[in-house]
Symmetry: C2
Subunit: 398 residues, 2 copies
């Protein structure tokens, strides 16, 4: 398969006059979604009512849609399931991993991880008590920090601010050599690069779908458990839909087979329908093509910005192997600069304290947009267009 990126771009509904470099925060609307969700509401829910759980296949959606994502992240078929939010899935994976590694009490993470991952880990170790602890080190120190006290690593493959990419294979190998398990957060990997969970021998992985997978605001998360663990990982969040026989209504919990046990409550069918439609775009995409184009787009942007904007400092690694699908620059007035850019139709985002973040999503962004965005950024910087009061007021959500 050779990917036709003009064809994938035509599958999105993008507003006029906008260059959207924020698909790594919320992916844009794929054309098929509104119809698909509309059908789920009127033809399925409206007409089938309760029988939709069987007739419309709702009950099987978490596994069926999970399989569509499995291909994109290099997971074995039948080992990914959808549901809940990424934070919940982090908790679920960590709780299972800790129990599978009794005698060790340390979750190792890094200070570049997305804060919610750290918060969920913190909530779990406080709940567990008994000496359980979260240990965080600088991103570049992770490999060396994996020692024989670590029960499980919790690493987001691509840093949400800098775009720095961890070496999943090396970290996983080191963890296994030291007797630790791994939980990989793929928030900025799934749909962003050619992820290979199976090849890296990852133990657990979790991710969200509203970024590069374009499922819409609050789309469901996914969880992967390696086949070798899937039948022995005990779910701490042991909900009825992870039960071996949910509709037997037994009083005692018996975990379902494999990944099914990572289901918890009733799946969000409207959000799953949106995601299912959004995934149609991916049927036409080879992940190696995506990765190559993502790096080429990022390189083109970085080169143009560095030529024209000496005040912006690149914080994303230059080595392609060391980055995801974004380019980030630092500037003390990053917030105002981003506001000024957004006012000119270039939508990236700002991450405290000083990072301008631009996501490159080949499904709908091409070299034209990259060049225009860089030109507009150069104008903003050269003419200090950001230095106006209206761009300095802080929005609630940035």
């Amino acid at each position: 398969m050779t990917t036709d990126f003009d064809a994938t771009k035509a599958m999105f509904d993008l507003p006029e006059g906008v260059i959207y470099l924020d698909g790594n925060s919320l992916g844009p609307l794929p054309r098929g979604v509104a119809d698909r969700v509309g059908r789920a509401i009127t033809a399925e829910w409206g007409q089938m009512l309760i029988t939709g759980w069987n007739k419309a296949g709702w009950m099987d959606m978490p596994a069926r849609v999970g399989d569509r994502i499995a291909r994109l992240i290099g997971a074995e078929p039948g080992h990914v399931v959808m549901g809940d939010t990424l934070s919940i899935k982090v908790y679920q994976a960590l709780a299972s991993a800790l129990e599978m590694n009794p005698g060790r009490k340390v979750i190792l993470s890094d200070t570049g991880n997305f804060p919610s991952d750290l918060y969920m880990a913190d909530g779990l170790v406080r709940t567990l008590g008994q000496g359980y602890a979260l240990r965080t080190v600088a991103p570049e120190d992770v490999l060396d920090a994996i020692d024989d006290t670590v029960a499980v690593t919790l690493i987001t493959e691509v840093d949400y601010r800098t775009g720095r990419r961890h070496d999943m294979k090396a970290i996983t190998a080191r963890a296994h050599a030291m007797g630790a398990l791994t939980v990989w957060d793929l928030a900025h990997s799934a749909g962003a690069l050619d992820c290979d969970l199976s090849g890296a021998q990852a133990d657990f992985a979790v991710g969200c779908t509203y970024k590069y997978l374009n499922s819409g605001p609050g789309g469901p998360a996914f969880i992967y458990v390696a086949p070798r663990h899937a039948d022995r990982a005990r779910p701490a969040l042991s909900g009825w839909l992870g039960h071996a026989a949910p509709f037997a209504f037994d009083l005692d919990y018996r975990p379902g087979a494999g990944i099914e046990r990572m289901r918890v409550g009733t799946p969000p069918i409207l959000q799953l329908a949106a995601l299912d439609a959004a995934l149609d775009v991916w049927d036409h995409v080879a992940m190696a093509d995506l990765r190559a184009r993502s790096l080429a787009l990022s390189d083109a942007f970085i080169a143009a910005v560095e030529r024209a904007c000496p005040d912006l400092t690149l914080t994303t690694p230059r080595d392609p192997a060391m980055r995801g699908s974004q380019a980030s620059f630092r500037h003390p007035q990053g917030y105002a600069i981003m506001q000024s850019l957004i006012a000119r139709g270039v939508i990236g985002d700002f991450r405290a304290p000083d990072i301008l973040r631009f996501g490159f999503t080949p499904l709908f962004i091409g070299f034209d947009e990259v060049e225009r965005a860089a030109t507009i950024l150069a104008e903003v910087m050269a003419n200090r267009l950001w230095d106006r009061p209206e761009y300095h007021a802080r929005a609630k959500v940035t």
Copy 2:
């Protein structure tokens, strides 16, 4: 306000020829939902992209929609928030309650509770270890079983199978007298009866919205924390949107004010939009009217069925104060009988091992439908219409 139930019925899209007595499993489609969700997709997500979190008010939806539900369950405004699934909210409430009652290790529940509540409690006590335990007694023994070893009770107000209603006020008072906290599951209460959390001095409450509140398959759950606890309950599921300043991206977790801390991850905006539209119906409903009509409808059905179907045994309490908004009958061939009814357009549901369950939802069910449903059930029973092979095959989901 006097409720006009013809007007509320006109606000639903119901399939032709169906008498839907299963709104207690999945509520039917309110007319405003498809448009509202369509707007959230095309006008909000499609056009506003990432800025929808502010411009379309997405970020505030969990609290804003929670306030609309607060009125229906007798909660103080500002103390209900939406998100996740009911099972997750059970875990969250229990974990907080246990931590607020150190020195006690017992969660008390009953065998009539919905199994997922018991499973989640079991998952939590296993994760905690250290002697934490789930104790279950028969529903009628709950009050006496609350002793000074109980840290928290976990009771579903209305039994999902029998429709038996616990006395929330009495159980809560007894729990408090014995030094225990209470978690109330309102799955079959919210939108079904005139619930009064504040009056009963409940500590925590949780519930789902896809039953009597008609939010659609997989609609988000809610959680209530009493004002006196809201600022000191520690969230075990400490996600970023429960943080005091989510967009500061601090490495350390600091719980947000009050109920906000019970938020976890990114809220499911499409499902929340569906719920928000579904709640419009409730603007026209006085809960006392709803309760009176629910009981009158149930009474009419029970009387008609008992007259015509001597083989069916009522398992719902006759005392109105002791039941929710459903009527359940036992029969050894309950599954086949329900299949036969469904084939004739009367949709109730079956709950293992032998329960026929009928929900009475005054928003769209009137006395005509109740009478017709009872007549069809009488025909099925009198002529043993259920005794055909096609009705004896077990469906995967019943």
